[in-house]
């Protein structure tokens, strides 16, 4: 897809100022990939800001890299200060990570992009953009681009219909067939900004909850478990689905839970800087809802 020149120039200019003024040590943005499209880029030197671009290929949620910046590079130093380019969907991650005390607001500069949509693996508009309700980042320090005039669309959950129409046995068979293809590469977990446990419970050396075999039962537990751990925390960036080499429709699992949590608590992850109520709020009878 062609590079958006005006937005690219604005991103470069902000990056240059942030690096030259030493407000940040690093800018995480996008660069043109030699394979076509865009890929994540880390810029430390103001002389290198011209690597940065903006185009509809900028699909990656870069906030996942903030976890690599939580620790100082050398012992005794402060952790680095980082600027990160965020789309509206990505910006919701910042609220989740702030609420969960994973990032410090003053160490992160959000370069928000008023996004007009990005493309998916097939070069078509990404599914997440078709139901995007934000269009302007919910958290940003500087904004590039004009917020689109078109009113945000209503999320009608139509993507979930095909799975909900299935009777339970058919639905189970559908998922087992999908999990059979999974190679347990953990790309979905590694790309997810909400998956930051130091040691994942599904990858413990002692195999307490699930053993190391790359077979359907283990993959079944892993995917359902991961979805549950993200309930009320998933911002629907769909990165897990994008990176999956076997094209598992993981957004279906996440979005079913997004809808449940929204129906029960009126909570949509990252719209505000609040923790998922699923873990902390009790129902009217004092019991979990």
């Amino acid at each position: 897809m062609p590079i958006n020149e005006p937005l690219t120039q604005q991103i470069r200019e902000h990056a240059r100022q942030l690096l030259e003024s030493e407000r940040v040590d690093c800018v995480i943005g996008y660069e043109a990939s030699p394979r076509g499209g865009a890929r994540p880029a880390f810029v430390y030197d103001p002389a290198e800001v011209d690597r940065l671009i903006w185009s509809p290929d900028c699909v990656h949620n870069l906030t996942t890299y903030l976890h690599d910046k939580k620790k100082p590079r050398k012992r005794g130093e402060e952790p680095p200060r980082v600027a990160v380019v965020v789309k509206p969907c990505d910006s919701r991650t910042l609220n989740v990570l702030l609420a969960e005390r994973q990032i410090e607001r003053e160490r992160v500069v959000a370069i928000g992009v008023a996004c007009e949509g990005v493309v998916g693996k097939d070069g078509q508009p990404a599914a997440k953009c078709g139901r995007c309700t934000d269009r302007t980042p919910v958290v940003y320090d500087v904004l590039v681009g004009e917020p689109p005039e078109a009113p945000p669309v209503e999320d009608d959950w139509s993507d979930l219909a095909r799975i909900e129409e299935m009777p339970p046995a058919e639905r189970l068979a559908f998922w087992l067939r999908e999990f059979d293809r999974c190679i347990r590469c953990y790309a979905c977990r590694q790309v997810c900004p909400g998956c930051y446990c130091t040691i994942c419970m599904f990858e413990r050396d002692d195999g307490l909850w699930v053993d190391a075999a790359i077979d359907v039962p283990q993959k079944h537990i892993f995917h359902l478990g991961r979805a549950l751990h993200l309930a009320g925390r998933c911002v629907e960036c769909d990165e897990c689905e994008r990176v999956c080499p076997m094209d598992l429709p993981l957004s279906l699992l996440n979005r079913l839970l997004v809808r449940e949590v929204e129906a029960l608590y009126g909570h949509r992850a990252g719209r505000e800087e609040t923790l998922t109520p699923l873990l902390f709020e009790l129902g009217p009878e004092g019991s979990p809802i």
């Binding site: 890299y65 293809r181 190679i183």
Partner: protein
């Protein structure tokens, strides 16, 4: 060289499927993958490079090594090894090359890996030549090629009206005995499209680049997932662990399994006490490239990359091994 039609090939494969464990390229929900098949109707004959290599059938992603049963004070150990002959049909020349690379460690070192050797001995490699190089392919730079028969038992080349089968080893001659052969018609299809070659730098020239900024540049965006190592035909690291499969009063059943592991994974190198000598993504990505182009050839002979290009196409953040090789060639 033997010639047969698609129908002849199908009849031969249908018979093989009754006699051996037959593995072939199949369409799995839109993905081309090698899978066990029970008949030729499940097999793809015109297909791209399968997304995963064929190593799964010699070094399975999950393999039970031992069954351990404890009854009271008695402990019984049973080794589990399948003994049927296995035919890997339709693997690509790069897959066979990858198997030869793994052989250098698991067969040719002393002692050999007995499980790998067992699978290797029961397996016949029947390859299908490529008629073009696919996205990311650079096999010609790594000593292979789309029609390379070197590491196969049989090489099949598709033609306009049928298939040309060339036995390469005595195993290959034997497996072709039941093939219905006809008078050859036409010629094998030529290779339509070659990709640009990639420079290969010898192992000793990699050493001085160990602290080069290239590892930070490319490693920082790495996700530390396992895609590249799992799609790779030569990555062969594994983990061994025990799992309890059944507990009853007075009876415990345990399995010792070996499963694929990946040096790109954060906990791969973590040791007792929690220390990790490769704590960052660039450390781990560098190790993967050094293993392929420096450590493995120095220790075991062959380069640890066959140029299949799978990792390039599968990487979600565009880490491209050929891009790294080009930068290394410039700096070396």
């Amino acid at each position: 060289m033997r010639f047969t039609t698609l129908d002849g090939l199908r009849r031969w494969l249908d018979k093989l499927a009754e006699e051996v464990d037959l593995v072939a390229p199949t369409d799995v929900d839109g993905h081309v993958l090698y899978r066990p098949v029970t008949g030729s109707d499940q097999i793809l004959f015109d297909y791209e490079r399968p997304e995963l290599s064929a190593k799964d059938f010699l070094l399975p992603a999950t393999e039970v090594l031992l069954r351990i049963e404890q009854k009271g004070k008695e402990v019984a150990l049973e080794e589990v090894l399948p003994d049927r002959k296995q035919v890997l049909f339709g693997i690509r020349p790069c897959d066979a090359h990858g198997i030869a690379v793994i052989d250098a460690l698991f067969l040719e070192q002393d002692p050999p890996d007995r499980y790998y050797r067992h699978h290797r001995e029961r397996t016949v490699l029947v390859g299908m030549a490529c008629t073009r190089m696919w996205d990311g392919c650079f096999c010609t730079s790594m000593g292979g090629g789309p029609t390379d028969a070197t590491h196969l038992d049989v090489l099949i080349r598709p033609g306009e009206e049928g298939y040309f089968l060339q036995p390469v080893t005595p195993k290959g001659v034997a497996i072709l005995e039941g093939l219905p052969v006809e008078e050859p018609k036409g010629e094998p299809l030529p290779v339509e499209e070659y990709n640009e070659p990639v420079p290969v730098v010898p192992p000793e020239k990699w050493r001085p680049l160990f602290n080069d900024r290239i590892w930070m540049r490319h490693g920082e965006r790495c996700l530390s997932c396992r895609i590249c190592t799992y799609v790779c035909p030569t990555c062969r690291c594994f983990d061994v662990t025990d799992r309890v499969v059944d507990v009853q009063p007075g009876l415990t059943r345990i399995e010792r399994i070996r499963v694929w592991d990946a040096c790109t994974s954060p906990n791969y190198r973590r040791v007792a006490g929690g220390h990790n000598p490769r704590p960052t993504k660039p450390d781990r990505l560098r190790n993967r490239f050094y293993c392929k182009f420096c450590y493995y050839p120095e220790d075991f002979g062959p380069l640890g990359c066959v140029g299949c290009g799978r990792c390039i196409v599968a990487c979600p953040v565009d880490i491209d091994i050929t891009e790294v090789m080009q930068v290394v060639a410039k700096r070396a």
